[in-house]
Point group: C2
């Protein structure tokens, strides 16, 4: 969009919106127009919501979750099992597990996975913090809830080696047929894992 | 996402982001996380940019374009041909024509197209304003740059009837093969129009 037509304020708004994941230059333009059309209902509240989040949200110093309190709501919740730590790569994974109500435990957000090709080493992730948390007396089990990708599994092996010394049980997510999935469409690796890890019926 | 996990501020931010076109609940979550990760580089500037746009942008009282000055940059540009008005349904269409550097004229944004099914009648669009602009002495031609849809073409016919009395020339965009398009993939209507409106080579 030529600056001369819509003015620098809109130009700047579109540029920033286009940096959100899922929005390209074209959809950022559409989003900007939508905001301007919904001035009172959407534009003003959104500006305020982003500013409020900016002012209040921080990263939990215990687990790496994001929240308006620090330590976060999850870490300070007395009803959660303190003996289990679920290790995730990203806050989005933590949210996904919470949406599934998968487990009532605490979390540890690594902030990524080991990736030599991208130059991500152990010092770039919250691995040291995880090891010290795992050494606390209350912790009995660390569940590695990492992606089933090469980087995710490399990270899982690396952490397992470190934690074996701490004497805690290390487990990982089961591989198998997704609920609702059809065998015909599954890859061989998943099918083989599902057979290997079959459970009594 | 359960409110208990991430706090009401993030919940609210995600809800508002999800109302942008092109972002669903899932991508809004991803966008919110991205904002929180890029606090200084993206979150703070975006909040400021939306607020600035909110404070400064208004709808041009002449043509319906949006801009930080009123009348807008296009309407006040002395280098633009005052004898031609390009009628578009939406500001996005105006931007598209400007990106294409298609014409150096002024515009008139209708704010939509006639759509009996959706209850959009002539009084809901800036048609009266267009007719009075067309009666100004300087205006010699009105170009209807409306979508080639039923609603767009209905609107075009309606406006043409009104403007014939004003004695201005009314034209519309050419139909034909898109530049770079392959004949094999084009619909019959477009091909027939391209033959009908063939030009000397």
């Amino acid at each position: 969009m030529p600056t001369a037509v819509a003015g620098p304020e809109i130009e700047r708004l579109i540029q920033l919106l286009a940096r959100l994941p899922g929005l390209g230059p074209r959809s950022a333009r559409r989003a900007a127009l939508h905001l301007i059309k919904k001035r009172e209902q959407l534009m003003a509240p959104l500006a305020a919501a982003i500013q409020t989040a900016f002012d209040r949200i921080s990263i939990c110093r215990v687990c790496g979750n994001i929240d308006s309190q620090n330590p976060c709501t999850v870490c300070t919740d007395p009803r959660r099992d303190p003996s289990v730590i679920v290790v995730v790569a990203d806050v989005a994974d933590l949210w996904a597990l919470e949406r599934a109500s998968a487990i009532n435990a605490r979390y540890h957000v690594l902030g990524g996975t080991l990736s030599p090709l991208d130059g991500v080493g152990p010092q770039d992730l919250a691995i040291d913090a995880l090891v010290s948390r795992a050494h606390e007396e209350a912790v009995k089990e660390v569940i590695l809830a990492l992606n089933a990708t090469v980087d995710g599994q490399t990270t899982a092996h690396y952490i397992t080696d470190l934690l074996h010394e701490a004497g805690v049980k290390v487990t990982r997510l089961a591989h198998g047929v997704p609920v609702g999935g059809e065998l015909d469409y599954l890859d061989e690796g998943t099918l083989a894992a599902a057979i290997r890890q079959r459970t009594p019926f």
